[in-house]
């Protein structure tokens, strides 16, 4: 079960799920651009916090945390690289100081913000909606169809892979033995039947499509259409406002954004 559990989109109805995927994508892009504009910790923290309400309104906290946890290893790597490389390789090396630490954290947070926004997008957009959005963005229908069909068959193929693995294990195949190369080789008896059956499946699929008038007319109609609703306009407004504000600060106050550590130190002094 566990293997393909993650591939299934959970059908939930929240205000965020109802939003037009194109608008949500615009929002993700806005966050993306802003995250690239700033490399200071303070704006990136703000950017991180701004997205939390979306996660909670959509009610996808658990999945969202799981996806962040998935990004943890990569985030750690980014942090270490930033810390080490900025220290050794810059011409005027920053000493291991609060500001270097802050810089490394900021770079890591930038990555996390990107992961966060994309995961919110994918966690709250049904593949069906996504396909529809592609279609209405004038992507050729063949591509949209290929996309939704691929999503449709992921759980099927995952289940099949599991069956084949079990069958081959029952015949004495040991998947987990040997070094890395050997392990990869062990998977060949699983892969080949899987590929063969996928090809057979695709032929049957093609037959079924033909039998249901695939390609009868250039002007296909669609059962569903995406229509912008009030929520969509609100999100566009929010995204645009954040973007404009960010651009304003970036143009006029880019150099003046204080380091978080410089804000904290006076506080500590005051406390002492």
């Amino acid at each position: 079960m566990s293997v393909f559990e993650g591939f299934k989109f959970r059908r939930v109805y929240s205000p965020i799920h109802q939003l037009d995927p194109r608008v949500k994508f615009f929002y993700v892009l806005a966050i993306f651009v802003i995250a690239i504009m700033f490399n200071q910790l303070l704006p990136l923290i703000l950017l991180f916090l701004i997205q939390l309400p979306f996660v909670f309104i959509a009610g996808v906290q658990r999945e969202w945390i799981r996806s962040l946890r998935g990004a943890l290893l990569f985030a750690t790597m980014i942090f270490v690289f930033n810390f080490v490389f900025t220290y050794f390789w810059t011409e005027y090396p920053l000493l291991p100081s609060p500001s270097l630490l802050e810089h490394s954290i900021a770079m890591t947070l930038r990555f996390i913000v990107l992961v966060e926004s994309f995961s919110v997008f994918f966690l709250t957009t049904s593949p069906d909606h996504l396909g529809l959005a592609l279609e209405q963005s004038h992507v050729p229908y063949e591509f949209c169809f290929a996309f939704t069909t691929a999503v449709r068959f992921v759980p099927v193929l995952a289940e099949e892979a599991q069956t084949i693995m079990d069958a081959q294990k029952a015949r004495g195949l040991e998947l987990e033995r040997g070094n890395f190369i050997k392990k990869v080789k062990n998977y060949i008896p699983v892969l080949i039947p899987l590929i063969v059956s996928a090809i057979r499946r695709s032929l049957e699929l093609a037959e079924a499509m033909e039998s249901r008038a695939w390609g009868a007319t250039k002007k296909r109609t669609n059962l569903y259409v995406l229509r912008m609703k009030r929520g969509d306009y609100v999100l566009i407004l929010i995204s645009a406002t954040i973007l404009i504000l960010a651009a304003y600060f970036w143009i006029f106050y880019r150099e003046q954004i204080p380091l978080l550590s410089s804000l904290l130190i006076p506080l500590r002094l005051a406390a002492a």
Binding site: S126, D128, F145, E204, E207, A216, T217, R220, T221, N222
Partner: protein, 282 residues
Amino acid sequence: MAIIETANLTYTYPGSTRSSLQDVTIEIKKGEFVVLTGPSGCGKTTLCRCFNGLVPHFYGGELQGDVTVTGLNVTQQAICDLAQHVGLVFQSPENQLFALSVEKDVAFGLENLGIPRDEIQKRVDWALRMTGITNIRERAPHELSGGQQQRVAIACVLAMQPDVMILDEPTSFLDPVGAQKIFDVISRLNKDLGITTILVEHRLDLAGKFANHVIVMDEGKVMLDGEPRGIFTSEDARLIGVGIPKATRLYQVLREKGVSLKRIPMNPEEAARSLREVLTLD
């Protein structure tokens, strides 16, 4: 009036040395419920493919003779044009559903035809109702049981309002109860809507009673073609290995033993009635 006609139909798949269909000449009338049966590999699926143009247009190969379906010459029509008259439901339900929701799948054919959206909505609703799956319209295919998937597949074809509906072993993945339900749906569509139905089936115990026309094939040829009771009781059918309904088989055995029933029974109820008649006579 014949809705499907073939004349001396012979077909060979590309790269194959043997013909999968040999000199097939049959006639199917409007509104009939045809059961097409025969041993594995005898060409039933191939014949079905000829009716909606998959053979020869999709498969290629060499076709001789004539196939006419609803007055259209199959070799001269595109598959998508034939699809509006002939619906084909395949054996494996999983591989004929490709959308992420039942509703969207049922709409697929209509979308391809460019039918206006409100009309699509109407026809989808209707097809879901006819097949009794309105309650699962928003589910994804992998959330459905085999029987439900097969009903969706039938609804997909039904929504296109075909004149002929062909079902190629639609219940081979189902248990007897699930199969029975599917047959009931099919039979209702045939009776109430007058859709000409061709059912490929081995298990005649369940499907035999719906038929009013049976075609038995063997090795690419049509061996028997006619009225079900006659065919089920014929010696040829038994030799070919047709899965004769048990009630009909009982009739044969009793006749060999010298007990003859008045009517040839096709299902247990009919057998019981005939037996009672014989018993009260004694």
